[in-house]
Amino acid sequence: MYQFRDPIHGFIDVSDQELKIIDCPPFQRLRNIKQLATTYLVYHGAEHTRFGHSLGVMHLVSRAFRSSLENYKKNNGIELYDEITKAWYLQILRIIGLTHDLGHAPFSHASEALFDDGIEHEDFTKKIICETEIAGYIMDIGEEFQKNHNVGKEYDITPELIWLIYGKKNPELDPRYRMPDYKFLKSFMDSELDCDKMDYLLRDSYYCGVNYGKYDLNKLLASLNIYKNPKENIIQLAVERGGIHAFEEFVIARYFMFIQVYFHKTRRHLDRQLVESIKEVLPNSKYPTEVDEYLKWDDDLILDKIKENTNLHEASRHFINRRVMSCVYETRVHSDGISDIHLFNAIRRELKLKVDPNCDILEDKANKLAHKIPTLEYYDAASGKGIPIILEHTDKPSSIAAESILLQSLIKPINIKRIYVSKEYSMQAREIVYEFLQEEEEE
């Protein structure tokens, strides 16, 4: 057993077998993949990487899985799974948590546009899990599990099983896929209340030096439960009614972090410049598709190559010198599709007409961000969307959108649009916007 000291969770325990994964080069590469891309150029503390986040997610899936099973037993008087299955699923979840971000490109989501068409970072995660030394370490964990629990091959843990549960598209009809157990396991990593979000909100908040992402983690974990509906073949991660306020805090944390950090106006522009700069230094302006070649690329190599490039284009020069365009107009956070967007389009037209012809004008909108816009969905058993809330007096689960008046307004999605202009023309552009809005008001 080994322990990592983590600023968010304190001591994180890892087994000797898990440590082999952590110590190998494809995992150590994560020490050099910043969690929040260029955010460190806005919030200078945001130098944290996917390494700590991956450990944090592994730690949280263990806590969340155990807590939900304990609460289920308390409520129902029976265990959801026998001891061996429980231990097996826990080990599988820990590996998924640990390895889920292995395929990230340098600067995380920011440069994913430079993958070959149709490729996503998850495709590289699969290759790294299944084709590098990590595959062998996962197999070792599987063998050790079988030996320690005196069980057979039905409790094997393989890279393919990890991928089947976490990443494979449309896996349900694969004969190896256990419905609904594997869906349940995946919900710890991919749902409105997953451990990925639980970790990154706290971690990003801590490193950015902001309070927006904080919520009561211990209460939230202690409130986790399981919604089981055998008739509809559903087992889902759920929250007990007593945890609604902690869940509300979590949802609001996500909302604030999106607006204040992930979609920060300067960070968005720097990310855009970074992508243009990376394009200039990558062979054929794309990341390699072969896994060993891909793994050579990390943040340091990208920055070194950009700095070495003597033939820098404008975007790269601006990026290196942190010269950003100015945001001169931004819609309301929940702008409506009719009046707000008409006004936005009219301002853009006005600027194009009146601002100096040498001035660059750029647009950005929230739905272009890789981070999903946090929207709140009613719980729907048929689609699995939303998080079920377990009530004491009925078997039918409710949803946070129905139980929380506070969160009702978040059902409407975030719809921010921005216009940027070259810095030297920002005064002129702001005046044009101001005058236009004055005229609109008078009309």
């Binding site: 008739k231 739905n367 689609s383």
Partner: protein, 169 residues
Amino acid sequence: MKPMQSNVAFIIKNIQSISGDCPGKKTLQKLVFLIEQKGIDLGCEYGLHFYGPYSAVLDAAASSLDEEGIISFDYSGYSHRMSVNPDWDIKSEVSEDQEKTISDVLTRYKDWNPSKLELLTTAIYAYDNLQEKTRESVIGGVKKIKGSKYSQDEINNVIQEFSYFNKEI
């Protein structure tokens, strides 16, 4: 408007006019799935999100139509019904024949309730994703996904619809 947006707006408008109801997100998901099954490639890339075929691409297209003011969502109820704003002149990017097919699908299933649509789309999804295209394997596939929610008779009944989609079983 991008072709995907135009086509989705066109379908939403037609659902409104054919069924007389504004569709919710779930109904739209199921009906577009069936339209694609009739050979009209709208680029929706369906997967089984949790318990029924679901397209994130379609969800994103509906959201972007809302952001652009082309459709409006009514957020007051549970199902977030959507409607095309009357100021917009909606034209699809599909051929006239394909428009007729869309209309035919929407008319055929206008009286089907969401549960039956869910069963039909899941059965088709199972058929498409199973190697063995037999009645038994489709029934087994639906039961694996849905548990005991639907009876054997109910599954058998929707399998009769497969011929409409040129699926041999």
